[in-house]
Protein backbone atom coordinates (compact mmCIF):
# COMPACT_ATOMS: atom_id res chain seq x y z
CA UNK A 1 0.00 0.00 0.00
CA UNK A 2 1.31 3.44 -0.90
CA UNK A 3 -0.06 5.33 2.09
CA UNK A 4 -1.36 3.89 5.32
CA UNK A 5 -2.79 6.25 7.88
CA UNK A 6 -3.31 4.31 11.08
CA UNK A 7 -5.36 5.69 13.96
CA UNK A 8 -4.02 9.25 13.95
CA UNK A 9 -4.86 11.29 17.01
CA UNK A 10 -3.89 14.89 17.59
CA UNK A 11 -4.66 16.93 20.68
CA UNK A 12 -3.94 20.62 21.11
CA UNK A 13 -3.84 22.62 24.28
CA UNK A 14 -5.92 25.78 24.09
CA UNK A 15 -5.02 29.06 25.76
CA UNK A 16 -7.40 28.30 28.64
CA UNK A 17 -5.45 25.06 29.20
CA UNK A 18 -8.14 22.77 27.84
CA UNK A 19 -7.19 19.93 25.56
CA UNK A 20 -9.04 19.77 22.27
CA UNK A 21 -8.89 16.65 20.10
CA UNK A 22 -8.43 17.99 16.57
CA UNK A 23 -8.09 14.53 14.99
CA UNK A 24 -9.56 11.41 16.60
CA UNK A 25 -8.36 8.09 15.30
CA UNK A 26 -8.30 8.79 11.56
CA UNK A 27 -7.55 5.65 9.59
CA UNK A 28 -7.43 5.18 5.81
CA UNK A 29 -5.25 3.91 2.99
CA UNK A 30 -4.37 5.14 -0.46
CA UNK A 31 -3.08 2.96 -3.26
CA UNK A 32 -0.84 3.92 -6.16
CA UNK A 33 -2.64 5.70 -9.00
CA UNK A 34 -5.67 6.61 -6.89
CA UNK A 35 -6.95 10.07 -6.03
CA UNK A 36 -8.54 10.46 -2.61
CA UNK A 37 -10.51 13.65 -1.94
CA UNK A 38 -10.23 14.40 1.76
CA UNK A 39 -13.12 16.71 2.45
CA UNK A 40 -14.53 18.43 5.49
CA UNK A 41 -15.87 21.71 6.79
CA UNK A 42 -13.48 24.39 8.07
CA UNK A 43 -11.82 23.30 11.30
CA UNK A 44 -12.71 19.63 10.79
CA UNK A 45 -9.07 18.51 10.99
CA UNK A 46 -8.13 18.22 7.29
CA UNK A 47 -5.02 20.39 7.38
CA UNK A 48 -3.83 18.86 10.67
CA UNK A 49 -4.19 15.40 9.11
CA UNK A 50 -2.35 16.45 5.92
CA UNK A 51 0.44 17.96 8.01
CA UNK A 52 0.71 14.79 10.08
CA UNK A 53 1.00 12.80 6.84
CA UNK A 54 3.74 15.19 5.69
CA UNK A 55 5.53 14.81 9.04
CA UNK A 56 5.11 18.50 9.88
CA UNK A 57 2.85 17.80 12.84
CA UNK A 58 3.60 14.98 15.25
CA UNK A 59 0.59 12.80 16.09
CA UNK A 60 -0.15 11.99 19.73
CA UNK A 61 -1.10 8.51 18.65
CA UNK A 62 -1.09 6.43 15.47
CA UNK A 63 1.36 6.39 12.61
CA UNK A 64 1.71 7.11 8.90
CA UNK A 65 3.61 4.86 6.53
CA UNK A 66 4.57 5.84 3.00
CA UNK A 67 5.71 2.99 0.75
CA UNK A 68 6.11 0.92 3.93
CA UNK A 69 8.36 3.47 5.67
CA UNK A 70 7.06 4.84 8.94
CA UNK A 71 7.13 8.59 9.38
CA UNK A 72 7.79 8.21 13.08
CA UNK A 73 10.63 5.78 12.41
CA UNK A 74 12.47 6.15 9.10
CA UNK A 75 11.07 9.55 8.25
CA UNK A 76 13.84 10.31 5.74
CA UNK A 77 12.92 7.22 3.70
CA UNK A 78 9.22 8.08 3.87
CA UNK A 79 9.83 11.69 2.81
CA UNK A 80 11.75 10.56 -0.30
CA UNK A 81 8.46 9.23 -1.66
CA UNK A 82 6.38 12.25 -0.75
CA UNK A 83 5.75 15.62 -2.39
CA UNK A 84 3.40 18.32 -1.12
CA UNK A 85 1.85 21.58 -2.21
CA UNK A 86 0.47 23.16 0.94
CA UNK A 87 -2.22 25.79 1.08
CA UNK A 88 -1.25 29.14 2.58
CA UNK A 89 2.40 28.63 1.66
CA UNK A 90 4.18 29.90 -1.40
CA UNK A 91 6.11 26.63 -1.66
CA UNK A 92 8.67 28.40 -3.90
CA UNK A 93 11.33 31.10 -3.70
CA UNK A 94 9.74 33.99 -5.55
CA UNK A 95 13.03 35.73 -6.26
CA UNK A 96 14.31 32.69 -8.17
CA UNK A 97 13.24 31.41 -11.56
CA UNK A 98 11.32 28.12 -11.83
CA UNK A 99 14.48 26.41 -13.05
CA UNK A 100 16.52 27.73 -10.11
CA UNK A 101 13.75 26.61 -7.76
CA UNK A 102 13.83 23.12 -9.29
CA UNK A 103 17.61 22.98 -8.87
CA UNK A 104 17.27 23.93 -5.21
CA UNK A 105 14.28 21.78 -4.21
CA UNK A 106 15.70 18.87 -6.24
CA UNK A 107 19.10 19.33 -4.59
CA UNK A 108 17.79 19.16 -1.04
CA UNK A 109 15.94 16.00 -2.04
CA UNK A 110 19.15 14.42 -3.29
CA UNK A 111 18.97 15.12 -7.05
CA UNK A 112 21.97 16.29 -9.05
CA UNK A 113 21.72 19.70 -10.70
CA UNK A 114 21.41 18.15 -14.17
CA UNK A 115 18.69 15.70 -13.14
CA UNK A 116 16.71 18.46 -11.42
CA UNK A 117 17.02 20.78 -14.44
CA UNK A 118 16.02 18.07 -16.94
CA UNK A 119 13.10 16.93 -14.83
CA UNK A 120 12.02 20.54 -14.21
CA UNK A 121 12.07 21.33 -17.93
CA UNK A 122 10.03 18.20 -18.66
CA UNK A 123 7.43 19.13 -16.01
CA UNK A 124 7.19 22.73 -17.25
CA UNK A 125 6.70 21.43 -20.80
CA UNK A 126 3.85 19.24 -19.62
CA UNK A 127 2.14 22.31 -18.17
CA UNK A 128 2.90 24.31 -21.34
CA UNK A 129 5.05 26.72 -19.33
CA UNK A 130 8.43 26.08 -20.96
CA UNK A 131 8.71 29.72 -22.06
CA UNK A 132 8.40 30.85 -18.41
CA UNK A 133 11.33 28.85 -17.15
CA UNK A 134 13.63 31.89 -17.06
CA UNK A 135 11.20 34.38 -15.45
CA UNK A 136 11.33 34.87 -11.70
CA UNK A 137 8.39 33.26 -9.92
CA UNK A 138 7.14 36.65 -8.70
CA UNK A 139 6.68 37.70 -12.34
CA UNK A 140 4.29 34.81 -13.03
CA UNK A 141 0.52 34.84 -12.64
CA UNK A 142 -1.07 33.18 -9.58
CA UNK A 143 -2.14 30.22 -11.71
CA UNK A 144 1.34 29.76 -13.16
CA UNK A 145 2.91 30.02 -9.71
CA UNK A 146 0.66 27.22 -8.50
CA UNK A 147 1.56 25.07 -11.51
CA UNK A 148 5.27 25.69 -10.88
CA UNK A 149 4.73 24.76 -7.21
CA UNK A 150 3.25 21.45 -8.34
CA UNK A 151 6.25 20.91 -10.65
CA UNK A 152 8.61 21.61 -7.72
CA UNK A 153 6.73 19.14 -5.52
CA UNK A 154 7.12 16.52 -8.26
CA UNK A 155 10.78 17.24 -8.97
CA UNK A 156 11.99 14.09 -7.18
CA UNK A 157 9.27 11.92 -8.80
CA UNK A 158 7.43 11.10 -5.57
CA UNK A 159 4.91 8.28 -5.53
CA UNK A 160 2.61 10.23 -3.19
CA UNK A 161 1.50 13.81 -3.74
CA UNK A 162 -0.36 15.84 -1.13
CA UNK A 163 -2.38 18.67 -2.65
CA UNK A 164 -3.95 21.08 -0.18
CA UNK A 165 -6.45 23.33 -2.02
CA UNK A 166 -4.50 23.20 -5.31
CA UNK A 167 -7.01 25.25 -7.33
CA UNK A 168 -8.03 27.79 -4.70
CA UNK A 169 -8.26 31.31 -6.16
CA UNK A 170 -7.27 30.24 -9.67
CA UNK A 171 -9.03 31.19 -12.89
CA UNK A 172 -10.86 28.53 -14.87
CA UNK A 173 -8.05 27.96 -17.36
CA UNK A 174 -5.37 27.43 -14.69
CA UNK A 175 -7.74 25.28 -12.64
CA UNK A 176 -8.53 23.10 -15.69
CA UNK A 177 -4.85 22.68 -16.53
CA UNK A 178 -4.07 21.57 -12.99
CA UNK A 179 -7.03 19.18 -12.91
CA UNK A 180 -6.08 17.64 -16.28
CA UNK A 181 -2.53 17.19 -15.10
CA UNK A 182 -3.52 15.67 -11.76
CA UNK A 183 -5.74 13.13 -13.53
CA UNK A 184 -2.94 12.14 -15.90
CA UNK A 185 -0.44 11.99 -13.06
CA UNK A 186 -2.55 9.52 -11.12
CA UNK A 187 -4.09 7.42 -13.87
CA UNK A 188 -1.19 7.30 -16.34
CA UNK A 189 1.82 7.45 -14.02
CA UNK A 190 0.48 5.78 -10.92
CA UNK A 191 1.10 8.62 -8.47
CA UNK A 192 -1.22 8.42 -5.45
CA UNK A 193 -2.80 11.78 -4.72
CA UNK A 194 -4.37 12.99 -1.49
CA UNK A 195 -6.40 16.09 -2.25
CA UNK A 196 -8.14 18.50 0.07
CA UNK A 197 -10.45 21.13 -1.32
CA UNK A 198 -13.61 23.05 -0.58
CA UNK A 199 -14.39 23.13 -4.31
CA UNK A 200 -16.70 20.14 -4.62
CA UNK A 201 -16.77 20.21 -8.43
CA UNK A 202 -12.96 19.84 -8.42
CA UNK A 203 -13.17 16.93 -5.99
CA UNK A 204 -15.93 15.30 -8.06
CA UNK A 205 -13.89 15.61 -11.26
CA UNK A 206 -10.67 14.29 -9.78
CA UNK A 207 -11.42 11.83 -7.02
CA UNK A 208 -11.69 8.07 -7.21
CA UNK A 209 -12.41 7.88 -3.50
CA UNK A 210 -14.07 10.29 -1.11
CA UNK A 211 -13.44 10.74 2.60
CA UNK A 212 -15.31 13.23 4.74
CA UNK A 213 -13.96 14.33 8.10
CA UNK A 214 -16.08 16.10 10.70
CA UNK A 215 -14.92 17.20 14.13
CA UNK A 216 -11.75 15.16 13.67
CA UNK A 217 -13.62 11.94 12.87
CA UNK A 218 -13.80 10.24 9.48
CA UNK A 219 -17.55 9.97 8.98
CA UNK A 220 -17.74 8.85 5.36
CA UNK A 221 -15.34 6.88 3.20
CA UNK A 222 -15.77 5.07 -0.06
CA UNK A 223 -15.50 4.94 -3.83
CA UNK A 224 -16.85 8.09 -5.45
CA UNK A 225 -19.55 6.19 -7.35
CA UNK A 226 -20.72 4.43 -4.19
CA UNK A 227 -20.77 7.65 -2.20
CA UNK A 228 -22.74 9.45 -4.90
CA UNK A 229 -25.10 6.48 -5.38
CA UNK A 230 -25.76 6.32 -1.66
CA UNK A 231 -27.10 9.84 -1.79
CA UNK A 232 -28.80 9.58 -5.15
CA UNK A 233 -32.53 9.77 -4.61
CA UNK A 234 -35.04 7.58 -6.35
CA UNK A 235 -36.12 10.54 -8.41
CA UNK A 236 -36.55 10.04 -12.17
CA UNK A 237 -37.23 12.57 -14.92
CA UNK A 238 -39.52 11.40 -17.76
CA UNK A 239 -39.60 13.11 -21.14
CA UNK A 240 -42.50 12.29 -23.50
CA UNK A 241 -42.74 12.51 -27.30
CA UNK A 242 -46.03 14.43 -27.05
CA UNK A 243 -48.53 15.57 -24.41
CA UNK A 244 -50.40 12.52 -23.07
CA UNK A 245 -54.15 12.14 -22.91
CA UNK A 246 -55.96 13.34 -19.77
CA UNK A 247 -56.64 9.70 -18.79
CA UNK A 248 -52.97 8.72 -19.11
CA UNK A 249 -51.95 11.80 -17.18
CA UNK A 250 -54.26 10.82 -14.29
CA UNK A 251 -52.81 7.29 -14.27
CA UNK A 252 -49.32 8.74 -14.11
CA UNK A 253 -50.38 11.06 -11.31
CA UNK A 254 -51.53 8.05 -9.32
CA UNK A 255 -48.03 6.64 -9.69
CA UNK A 256 -46.47 9.82 -8.26
CA UNK A 257 -45.83 11.99 -11.33
CA UNK A 258 -45.08 15.66 -10.64
CA UNK A 259 -45.47 17.50 -13.94
CA UNK A 260 -42.88 20.08 -14.79
CA UNK A 261 -44.19 20.72 -18.34
CA UNK A 262 -46.65 19.46 -20.94
CA UNK A 263 -44.29 16.62 -21.89
CA UNK A 264 -42.09 16.28 -18.79
CA UNK A 265 -42.61 15.10 -15.22
CA UNK A 266 -40.64 13.89 -12.26
CA UNK A 267 -41.51 10.82 -10.20
CA UNK A 268 -40.09 9.36 -7.04
CA UNK A 269 -40.13 5.58 -7.34
CA UNK A 270 -39.76 2.89 -4.73
CA UNK A 271 -38.10 0.48 -7.16
CA UNK A 272 -36.33 1.20 -10.46
CA UNK A 273 -38.63 -1.36 -12.15
CA UNK A 274 -41.57 0.96 -11.44
CA UNK A 275 -40.35 2.89 -14.49
CA UNK A 276 -41.97 0.23 -16.70
CA UNK A 277 -45.30 0.58 -14.88
CA UNK A 278 -45.35 4.33 -15.60
CA UNK A 279 -44.43 3.74 -19.25
CA UNK A 280 -47.35 1.27 -19.58
CA UNK A 281 -49.74 3.76 -17.93
CA UNK A 282 -48.79 6.43 -20.46
CA UNK A 283 -49.33 4.24 -23.55
CA UNK A 284 -49.76 4.96 -26.40
CA UNK A 285 -47.80 8.11 -25.65
CA UNK A 286 -44.12 7.31 -26.13
CA UNK A 287 -41.54 7.98 -23.42
CA UNK A 288 -38.45 9.25 -25.25
CA UNK A 289 -36.15 9.71 -22.25
CA UNK A 290 -35.92 8.51 -18.66
CA UNK A 291 -33.18 9.94 -16.54
CA UNK A 292 -32.28 9.02 -13.00
CA UNK A 293 -31.28 12.14 -11.13
CA UNK A 294 -27.84 11.63 -9.60
CA UNK A 295 -26.58 13.58 -6.65
CA UNK A 296 -23.49 15.71 -7.13
CA UNK A 297 -20.71 15.83 -4.55
CA UNK A 298 -21.78 19.24 -3.27
CA UNK A 299 -25.22 17.82 -2.46
CA UNK A 300 -23.67 14.75 -0.86
CA UNK A 301 -21.36 16.92 1.23
CA UNK A 302 -24.17 19.25 2.31
CA UNK A 303 -26.48 16.36 3.16
CA UNK A 304 -23.81 14.41 4.97
CA UNK A 305 -22.29 17.22 7.02
CA UNK A 306 -25.74 18.46 8.02
CA UNK A 307 -26.03 15.37 10.22
CA UNK A 308 -24.21 15.67 13.54
CA UNK A 309 -21.23 13.39 14.16
CA UNK A 310 -22.40 10.26 16.03
CA UNK A 311 -22.19 10.76 19.78
CA UNK A 312 -20.02 7.68 20.34
CA UNK A 313 -17.34 9.33 18.21
CA UNK A 314 -17.14 12.47 20.31
CA UNK A 315 -15.06 12.50 23.45
CA UNK A 316 -14.55 15.56 25.56
CA UNK A 317 -11.11 15.66 27.07
CA UNK A 318 -10.17 18.19 29.70
CA UNK A 319 -6.66 18.86 30.89
Amino acid sequence: MLLEVGGLVKRYKTKDRQIVEAVRGIRFTLSAGAILAFLGPNGAGKTTTIKMIAGLVRPDDGDVTVEGHSLSGRSGQALRHLGAVLEGSRNLYWRLTPLENFEYWGGIRGLSRKTARDRGRELMREFGLEDKIGSTVQQLSRGMQQQVAICAALIHSPSLLLLDEPTLGLDLDASDRIQDYVLRLAHERGVGILLTTHQMEVAQTLADRISIIQNGVLTLEGLKEDVLARFTGSSYVFELAEAPSAEARLLADDLGAAWTGECEFRAVLDRPTDVYEIMRALEPCAVVRVMRETADLATVFREHTRKPVPVENIREVTA
Binding site: V57, S75, Q77, L82, L86, G107, I108, R113
Partner: protein, 258 residues
Protein backbone atom coordinates in the same frame (compact mmCIF):
# COMPACT_ATOMS: atom_id res chain seq x y z
CA UNK B 1 24.33 15.25 0.62
CA UNK B 2 26.76 16.86 -1.80
CA UNK B 3 23.83 17.69 -4.07
CA UNK B 4 22.12 19.44 -1.17
CA UNK B 5 25.29 21.39 -0.36
CA UNK B 6 25.74 22.49 -3.97
CA UNK B 7 22.03 23.42 -4.12
CA UNK B 8 22.47 25.65 -1.05
CA UNK B 9 25.61 27.16 -2.50
CA UNK B 10 23.94 27.92 -5.85
CA UNK B 11 20.84 29.38 -4.20
CA UNK B 12 22.96 31.82 -2.17
CA UNK B 13 25.08 32.72 -5.17
CA UNK B 14 22.10 33.23 -7.51
CA UNK B 15 20.39 35.50 -4.98
CA UNK B 16 23.57 37.55 -4.59
CA UNK B 17 24.00 37.89 -8.36
CA UNK B 18 20.32 38.67 -9.00
CA UNK B 19 20.47 41.85 -6.93
CA UNK B 20 23.82 43.48 -7.77
CA UNK B 21 23.13 46.63 -5.74
CA UNK B 22 22.80 44.53 -2.59
CA UNK B 23 25.99 42.65 -3.50
CA UNK B 24 27.91 45.85 -4.23
CA UNK B 25 26.76 47.59 -1.07
CA UNK B 26 27.71 44.53 0.98
CA UNK B 27 31.14 44.49 -0.66
CA UNK B 28 31.53 48.25 -0.15
CA UNK B 29 30.81 47.87 3.59
CA UNK B 30 33.41 45.10 3.95
CA UNK B 31 36.02 47.09 1.97
CA UNK B 32 35.36 50.20 4.06
CA UNK B 33 35.59 48.28 7.34
CA UNK B 34 38.88 46.65 6.37
CA UNK B 35 40.27 49.88 4.93
CA UNK B 36 39.34 51.57 8.22
CA UNK B 37 41.05 48.79 10.16
CA UNK B 38 44.20 49.18 8.06
CA UNK B 39 44.31 52.95 8.42
CA UNK B 40 43.38 52.88 12.12
CA UNK B 41 45.84 50.07 12.80
CA UNK B 42 48.63 51.95 10.97
CA UNK B 43 47.89 55.11 12.95
CA UNK B 44 47.80 53.40 16.34
CA UNK B 45 50.51 50.80 15.92
CA UNK B 46 52.95 52.78 13.82
CA UNK B 47 54.74 51.55 10.73
CA UNK B 48 57.45 49.48 12.46
CA UNK B 49 55.20 47.06 14.32
CA UNK B 50 52.35 47.27 11.88
CA UNK B 51 52.60 43.79 10.35
CA UNK B 52 52.08 41.44 13.34
CA UNK B 53 49.64 43.53 15.39
CA UNK B 54 47.52 44.55 12.46
CA UNK B 55 47.17 40.97 11.23
CA UNK B 56 45.88 40.06 14.73
CA UNK B 57 43.24 42.76 14.52
CA UNK B 58 42.19 41.83 11.02
CA UNK B 59 42.10 38.06 11.55
CA UNK B 60 40.20 38.62 14.81
CA UNK B 61 37.69 40.88 13.11
CA UNK B 62 37.21 38.48 10.17
CA UNK B 63 36.63 35.55 12.52
CA UNK B 64 34.25 37.60 14.63
CA UNK B 65 32.09 38.57 11.63
CA UNK B 66 32.09 35.01 10.25
CA UNK B 67 31.13 33.63 13.66
CA UNK B 68 28.36 36.14 14.12
CA UNK B 69 27.16 35.21 10.64
CA UNK B 70 27.04 31.55 11.73
CA UNK B 71 25.18 32.38 14.93
CA UNK B 72 22.59 34.50 13.11
CA UNK B 73 22.09 32.58 9.87
CA UNK B 74 20.11 29.67 11.25
CA UNK B 75 17.59 31.67 13.27
CA UNK B 76 17.25 34.16 10.45
CA UNK B 77 16.76 31.30 7.96
CA UNK B 78 13.91 29.83 10.02
CA UNK B 79 12.00 33.09 10.35
CA UNK B 80 12.74 34.15 6.77
CA UNK B 81 11.63 30.80 5.30
CA UNK B 82 8.48 30.95 7.42
CA UNK B 83 7.70 34.43 6.14
CA UNK B 84 8.43 33.33 2.56
CA UNK B 85 6.10 30.35 2.95
CA UNK B 86 8.84 27.84 2.19
CA UNK B 87 9.65 26.55 5.69
CA UNK B 88 7.42 23.48 5.34
CA UNK B 89 9.16 22.50 2.11
CA UNK B 90 12.57 22.74 3.83
CA UNK B 91 11.27 20.42 6.56
CA UNK B 92 10.08 17.98 3.88
CA UNK B 93 13.67 17.34 2.82
CA UNK B 94 14.65 13.74 3.60
CA UNK B 95 17.98 15.06 4.92
CA UNK B 96 16.21 16.82 7.77
CA UNK B 97 16.09 20.49 8.67
CA UNK B 98 19.16 20.35 10.94
CA UNK B 99 21.40 19.29 8.06
CA UNK B 100 19.83 21.75 5.61
CA UNK B 101 20.47 24.59 8.09
CA UNK B 102 24.05 23.42 8.55
CA UNK B 103 24.61 23.33 4.79
CA UNK B 104 23.09 26.78 4.37
CA UNK B 105 25.35 28.05 7.14
CA UNK B 106 28.37 26.50 5.41
CA UNK B 107 27.41 28.13 2.11
CA UNK B 108 27.07 31.48 3.87
CA UNK B 109 30.40 31.14 5.67
CA UNK B 110 32.20 30.14 2.46
CA UNK B 111 30.72 33.09 0.56
CA UNK B 112 31.54 35.39 3.49
CA UNK B 113 35.08 34.03 3.62
CA UNK B 114 35.55 34.52 -0.13
CA UNK B 115 34.38 38.13 0.17
CA UNK B 116 36.70 38.71 3.12
CA UNK B 117 39.73 37.22 1.36
CA UNK B 118 39.04 39.15 -1.84
CA UNK B 119 38.56 42.35 0.09
CA UNK B 120 41.68 41.77 2.16
CA UNK B 121 43.81 41.32 -0.95
CA UNK B 122 42.25 44.40 -2.58
CA UNK B 123 42.87 46.55 0.50
CA UNK B 124 46.44 45.23 0.82
CA UNK B 125 47.05 46.15 -2.82
CA UNK B 126 45.55 49.64 -2.33
CA UNK B 127 47.42 50.48 0.90
CA UNK B 128 50.66 48.74 0.03
CA UNK B 129 50.67 47.08 3.49
CA UNK B 130 50.99 43.32 3.19
CA UNK B 131 50.02 41.08 6.10
CA UNK B 132 51.40 37.72 7.01
CA UNK B 133 48.59 35.41 8.03
CA UNK B 134 49.67 31.92 9.00
CA UNK B 135 47.74 29.04 7.42
CA UNK B 136 47.53 27.59 10.98
CA UNK B 137 45.17 30.45 11.86
CA UNK B 138 42.54 28.50 10.02
CA UNK B 139 42.36 25.86 12.80
CA UNK B 140 41.13 28.21 15.55
CA UNK B 141 38.97 29.83 12.87
CA UNK B 142 37.24 26.53 12.11
CA UNK B 143 36.82 25.75 15.83
CA UNK B 144 35.28 29.17 16.38
CA UNK B 145 32.84 28.62 13.51
CA UNK B 146 31.93 25.19 14.89
CA UNK B 147 31.06 26.76 18.29
CA UNK B 148 29.17 29.51 16.48
CA UNK B 149 27.20 26.88 14.54
CA UNK B 150 26.17 25.27 17.84
CA UNK B 151 24.98 28.66 19.08
CA UNK B 152 23.24 29.14 15.73
CA UNK B 153 21.23 25.95 16.36
CA UNK B 154 20.27 27.35 19.77
CA UNK B 155 19.01 30.56 18.16
CA UNK B 156 17.17 28.49 15.52
CA UNK B 157 15.57 26.45 18.33
CA UNK B 158 14.30 29.62 19.99
CA UNK B 159 13.01 30.89 16.62
CA UNK B 160 11.20 27.66 15.85
CA UNK B 161 9.44 27.69 19.24
CA UNK B 162 9.01 31.39 19.97
CA UNK B 163 8.84 32.53 16.32
CA UNK B 164 11.01 35.63 16.91
CA UNK B 165 14.66 35.74 17.94
CA UNK B 166 16.06 39.10 16.79
CA UNK B 167 16.29 40.57 20.32
CA UNK B 168 17.90 37.38 21.61
CA UNK B 169 20.45 37.59 18.80
CA UNK B 170 21.27 41.20 19.72
CA UNK B 171 21.72 40.21 23.37
CA UNK B 172 23.83 37.18 22.41
CA UNK B 173 26.19 39.37 20.39
CA UNK B 174 26.95 41.46 23.50
CA UNK B 175 27.44 38.39 25.69
CA UNK B 176 29.80 36.83 23.15
CA UNK B 177 31.66 40.09 22.71
CA UNK B 178 32.13 40.20 26.49
CA UNK B 179 33.41 36.60 26.52
CA UNK B 180 35.88 37.40 23.74
CA UNK B 181 37.15 40.65 25.26
CA UNK B 182 37.30 39.43 28.87
CA UNK B 183 40.66 37.88 29.85
CA UNK B 184 39.01 34.61 30.87
CA UNK B 185 42.23 32.66 30.16
CA UNK B 186 43.86 34.21 33.21
CA UNK B 187 41.03 33.21 35.55
CA UNK B 188 41.93 30.70 38.26
CA UNK B 189 40.17 28.34 40.59
CA UNK B 190 36.61 27.33 39.79
CA UNK B 191 36.34 30.30 37.39
CA UNK B 192 38.79 28.54 35.12
CA UNK B 193 35.93 26.30 34.04
CA UNK B 194 34.20 29.38 32.71
CA UNK B 195 37.21 30.01 30.49
CA UNK B 196 37.03 26.43 29.25
CA UNK B 197 33.30 25.95 28.88
CA UNK B 198 31.95 29.36 27.86
CA UNK B 199 31.48 29.57 24.10
CA UNK B 200 34.48 30.96 22.19
CA UNK B 201 36.54 31.47 25.40
CA UNK B 202 39.25 28.81 24.95
CA UNK B 203 39.57 29.44 21.22
CA UNK B 204 40.06 33.16 21.91
CA UNK B 205 42.77 32.25 24.43
CA UNK B 206 44.31 29.99 21.79
CA UNK B 207 44.25 32.75 19.18
CA UNK B 208 45.72 35.27 21.64
CA UNK B 209 48.64 33.05 22.52
CA UNK B 210 49.25 32.30 18.83
CA UNK B 211 49.04 35.86 17.62
CA UNK B 212 50.31 38.05 20.42
CA UNK B 213 52.86 35.66 21.90
CA UNK B 214 53.74 34.02 18.59
CA UNK B 215 53.11 30.52 19.98
CA UNK B 216 52.82 27.60 17.55
CA UNK B 217 49.43 25.90 17.30
CA UNK B 218 50.66 22.84 19.21
CA UNK B 219 52.63 24.91 21.67
CA UNK B 220 49.72 26.68 23.34
CA UNK B 221 49.46 24.45 26.37
CA UNK B 222 46.06 22.81 26.69
CA UNK B 223 44.21 25.59 24.88
CA UNK B 224 44.04 23.66 21.61
CA UNK B 225 42.57 20.64 23.40
CA UNK B 226 40.07 22.77 25.32
CA UNK B 227 39.15 24.62 22.14
CA UNK B 228 38.33 21.34 20.41
CA UNK B 229 36.35 20.12 23.44
CA UNK B 230 34.53 23.46 23.63
CA UNK B 231 33.67 23.49 19.90
CA UNK B 232 32.39 19.89 19.95
CA UNK B 233 30.44 20.55 23.16
CA UNK B 234 28.61 23.63 21.84
CA UNK B 235 27.94 21.99 18.50
CA UNK B 236 26.47 18.96 20.28
CA UNK B 237 24.41 21.11 22.65
CA UNK B 238 23.09 23.07 19.66
CA UNK B 239 22.20 19.92 17.72
CA UNK B 240 20.49 18.24 20.70
CA UNK B 241 18.50 21.33 21.60
CA UNK B 242 17.48 21.83 17.96
CA UNK B 243 16.33 18.19 17.73
CA UNK B 244 14.27 18.71 20.90
CA UNK B 245 12.88 22.02 19.61
CA UNK B 246 11.85 20.41 16.31
CA UNK B 247 10.05 17.63 18.16
CA UNK B 248 8.33 20.15 20.41
CA UNK B 249 7.32 22.36 17.46
CA UNK B 250 5.94 19.34 15.61
CA UNK B 251 4.01 18.28 18.70
CA UNK B 252 2.59 21.78 19.15
CA UNK B 253 1.87 21.95 15.43
CA UNK B 254 3.52 25.34 15.04
CA UNK B 255 6.06 24.55 12.38
CA UNK B 256 4.26 27.08 10.19
CA UNK B 257 1.73 29.90 10.72
CA UNK B 258 4.38 32.46 11.69
Amino acid sequence: MLHALSAEWRREWVQLRRYPTELLSELAVIVLVFYGLFLGGSYMAGGAILGGRLSDIIVGYALWTLSMMSVGTMGWTISNEAQNGTLEQVFLSPYGAALILLLRNMANVVIGLLFTILTLFSVMAITGHYLFISPWDIVPGLLMIASATGLGYLVASVTILMKRSQQLLNLLQFILLFLIMAPTASLGGPWRWLAIMAPFSPVVALLRSMMTQGAALLGTGNWLLWSVVNAVLWLLIGLLVFAWAQKKARRRGNLSHY
